[in-house]
Symmetry: C2
Subunit: 185 residues, 2 copies
Amino acid sequence: MGQKGTATRVRILAAAQELIETGGYFSAGLNQVIAVSGAPRGSLYFHFPDGKDQLVGESVRRAGQAMGAAFEGMAESSASVAEFVEGVLRHLGDRLEESGWQKGCPVATVALEMAAASDPLQQACSEVYASWTAALRARLDGRQDADDLAVTILALIEGALLLAKAHRSREPLDRVAGRLATLLR
Amino acid sequence: MGQKGTATRVRILAAAQELIETGGYFSAGLNQVIAVSGAPRGSLYFHFPDGKDQLVGESVRRAGQAMGAAFEGMAESSASVAEFVEGVLRHLGDRLEESGWQKGCPVATVALEMAAASDPLQQACSEVYASWTAALRARLDGRQDADDLAVTILALIEGALLLAKAHRSREPLDRVAGRLATLLR
DNA sequence: ACTCCTCAATAGATCGGTCTATATATTTTT
DNA sequence: AAAAATATATAGACCGATCTATTGAGGAGT
C-alpha cells in the first residue's frame, strides 16, 4: 500500500470516528464520511471492501486504542487510582464540553445501537471494553476486589459520560468524581 | 378521541418503545413501527402529526414513566437503599437476558444518538434522567451527600447496563451490585 | 349525521453498495 | 536508464431499497 493510499484510508477512518463519537452508527452515513474526509466514494470501498460494518468496526477499535493510550499516559502521571480516574473524568468532560456537547464515548453509542443487530460490531465493542477493563484492573493490582472494582469504575465512567451528554452538563461527571474516594476506600 | 383511536395510539407507542429499547432512534423506523403495531401509516400521522420526533419523544417519556413506576414498586418492598438498587440491577438484567440481550435502557441509546442533533429529544431524555435521579434522591434522604450519591448510583446503573448489553452478559451488573455496599457506606 | 380514524398510493430525499473509466505509483523488461 | 506492464488508488455516475412525510377519498364508531 502506497503512502497516499494509506493517508486516505486514515482520513476516512478519522472522519468516521468523529461522526460516530457524536451520534453513533447511523449518524456516520457514508455520504457524511465522504464529505468530511474529502475522499471519493470509490476510495471508501477500495479501502473497506466489506462496506460500512468494516469501516465502523475498525473505527471503534481505533478509537478504543487511542482512548486506551490516552488513559495510559494519564495513569503514569497519577499518584493514586482515584487521581487517575478523576483525570479521566476531567479529560472526557473537556472533550465533551469543548465539542459543544457532541463528542462522547466512541464505543457506547454503537454498542447500544448494534449489539443486538450485528455480531461483528458487538464483538468489536465488547473487546474494546474488555481492554479498557484490563487496563483499569492493572492499576488496581494488589486489591482482592480488583476485578469487581475495575468493572465498576468503567461503568461509572461510561454512565457519567452518558448522563453528561444527555444533560449537556459536566455536573454528572463532577458528582461522580466526588464519590470516587468512598468507592475506592 | 374515541376508545379505538386511543387504543391505536397506545399500540403505536408501545411498538416504538420496544424498537427503541433494542436499538435506539434509527432502529425504530416508521415502517417497523407500523409492522409491529399493526397500525396503518395514516393513523401514525393522525396521532403524531409532528412525525417521528414526536413519536420518539413521547415513547421515551412513556418508557421513563413506566420504568420509574417499576422502581417505585421495588423501592417500597426494599429494606435498604442497597437492597433496592440491587433489585433494580437484577430486574434490568432479567429484562436484558430474557430478551436475548436486546432490551436495554429505553433512554440511553436515543440520548447518545440524538442529544447533539435534536433539542426536543435531548430535553426529553434529560427530563427522564432528572426524574429518575429525583426518585433515587428521595430514597437517600437524610444523607448529606444525597445529591452526589443519587447521580452516582444512576450512572452506575446505566453504565453497568451498557456494559452488560455490549458483552451480552450479566457479569457487569453482578460485579457492580457487589460493590454497592462500599459506595453506600 | 358527523366526527374520528383508516387506508393505500405516492412524493422526494437519502441510504449503502456497485460499476467502469481513469489516474498514479511501482515493478519488470529490455 | 527508458519503456512497457502491472498493481494500486481515485473518481463519480448510477442502482435498487428504504427512509420520513403527505395526501385525499372513504369506512367505522358514536
